[in-house]
Amino acid sequence: MAKINKVLIVNRGEIAVRILRALADLGKRSAVIYSDPDRASLPVMLADEAYRIGPAPSRESYLRGDAIIELAGRIGADAIHPGYGFLSENATFARHCREAGILFIGPSPEAMAVMGSKVESRRMMMDAGVAVVPGGRDPLPDLEAARAFAAQLGYPVMIKAASGGGGKGMRRVAAQADLAAAYRAARSEAMASFGDDDVYLEKFIDRPRHVEIQVLGDQHGRVVSLGERECSLQRRQQKVVEEAPSPAVSPELRRQMGEAAVKAAKAVGYSNAGTVEFLLDADGESFYFLEMNTRLQVEHPVTEMVTGLDLVEWQLRISEGEPLPDEMERIEPRGHAIEVRLYAEDPYRGFAPSPGRIEVLRLPQGPGIRNDCGVHEGCEVTIHYDPMLAKLIAWGADRDQAMRRLRRALGELRVEGIQTTAPLFLRLLDDPDFIAGRLDIAMLDRKMASGELALPAPPNPDLAPIAAALAHFQRTARTTAPNPGRGRRTGWRHAARRESLHGGGRWI
């Protein structure tokens, strides 16, 4: 197949940076698109080429599929990398790329379409013999049928609207006595919400983990599993902390889940990078297909750090037609990696967004630390897009070392000007359940609600008054100085210089 020379990156922030780094690593040319508020963003600064695509709203910029394809043709890009979000799971866009003769870095539009539909993918997995959450695939004819099926599944069960979504027409049923009422309520809510009162039954999975398998498929029929990621730490269904391997997955379970994931991917003729998401039951043995994400995942770096593979590089190689090597079938995780997602949000004010100018940005460095950061010092974090600024990833020879390094790295991290979620992660690293690896998908919301992760008092409450008083002293002392104009900028600095000179040092 054709060699890729130039790739247009249809994304922004850290994932645009991640992709252009892979392109630079491969000696390929990178082009990015940018919306007006992203003109001075890190991707624009690091890419080889950059093109304005529109004003701030995504609909008028990063989602303008046809304008993007037209641009790719105009600048001679052979391929488009969609990253995650935006157009990455849009099968129509992928089809338009193909029609325009531009490689879409991802699976075929057909595979994207099947996996993009929850109902269709559930059905296809059942046919392929991949375990889904136990339950029906067809609507229940009546209450009697529901009662019989529920008894067969075992309580608790969930009644779900066939056309459902967003929690509407959904009822958890703890015991048979509650079934009739729940059945009627779910049907009427489903009718009111979707104009369709069909409901079906699923087993209720209590406090499961979210464990997912990274797969790679080439264009010659080979699909490999690169092991699992543990993504149970979520805030309102949004992943916050991810790790590889999962503390709950034995080598035997890894093999089983990997096989199921490969089976799922092969069922839709999948190629390129993809992720098969599973719920892992609290029993630690049963797992159920949730969905397949047909793109690069935010949390892909933890897999990279334990396998040594560069997944974006492999996405490009696969698109160029390169077959996956035999050794990839036998990759074992080495060490342990944990990622935290740094958001511009204040975790201790209800995760309120915190836009603003990043006045100071000092990223942690040193052994085992990787920063996938989409912002730079001096840049503005605007209200227009997802508030994720960066991902901070720590690798260790084992989970304990990875946690210790992550804690150290978060202590080194300095972001001034906006609030971030970093203080929450420091608390989480002291949480006994997190340390023990006892995780489930509701754990973070539960602990935030209970106050278990509340910020402790500062070690010395006098520090803030001391710093404020010193600043105030300097500022007011300055106003009597002969040259206030100059003093305004240097401020406290003067004192520093004086102190240094006094100490005998020399500042050149």
Partner: protein, 167 residues
Amino acid sequence: MDLIVRQGDQPLPVQVERDGPDWRVTVDGREYRVASVAVGANCHSLLIDGEQHELCVRRLSGERYSISTTTHSEEVAVLDPLTFLAQESRGGEGESGSNRVAALMAGRVVAVLRQEGEAVDKGQGVLVLEAMKMENEIAAERAGTVKQLFVEPGQAVDRGDPLFEIE
């Protein structure tokens, strides 16, 4: 220099003096010898008995300062003792007397939940602000009546813009 630093509701007497290349700072009777040096815009490295603290100090407005470490961020006010006494004698009318709610972040008003003249309980939402793809309900900080709405749906607001007033 004698100062009053208001931390939370607490007014603390603070003295600051030069002490050779360092500073002597006394907070409510607790004395510290502080070596301070700038390490970047607004950031300072403070050494107190060998312990190193990196603090960023930003002046917000008037006498209010934001002080932040890696994990903590707080606002304090620095007053000279006379100003402090003058404020005290007004019986704390200042902050607690205000019943205007301002935007804490830039965003767009997506919905108004209570109209002017409607009663609200403490904690009930008055309007919804969207910022960074998330909707945030802005609630009344006290029970009362919506005296005035300063914004309407669709309107963009900046940080600090008044949103509504409760009476």
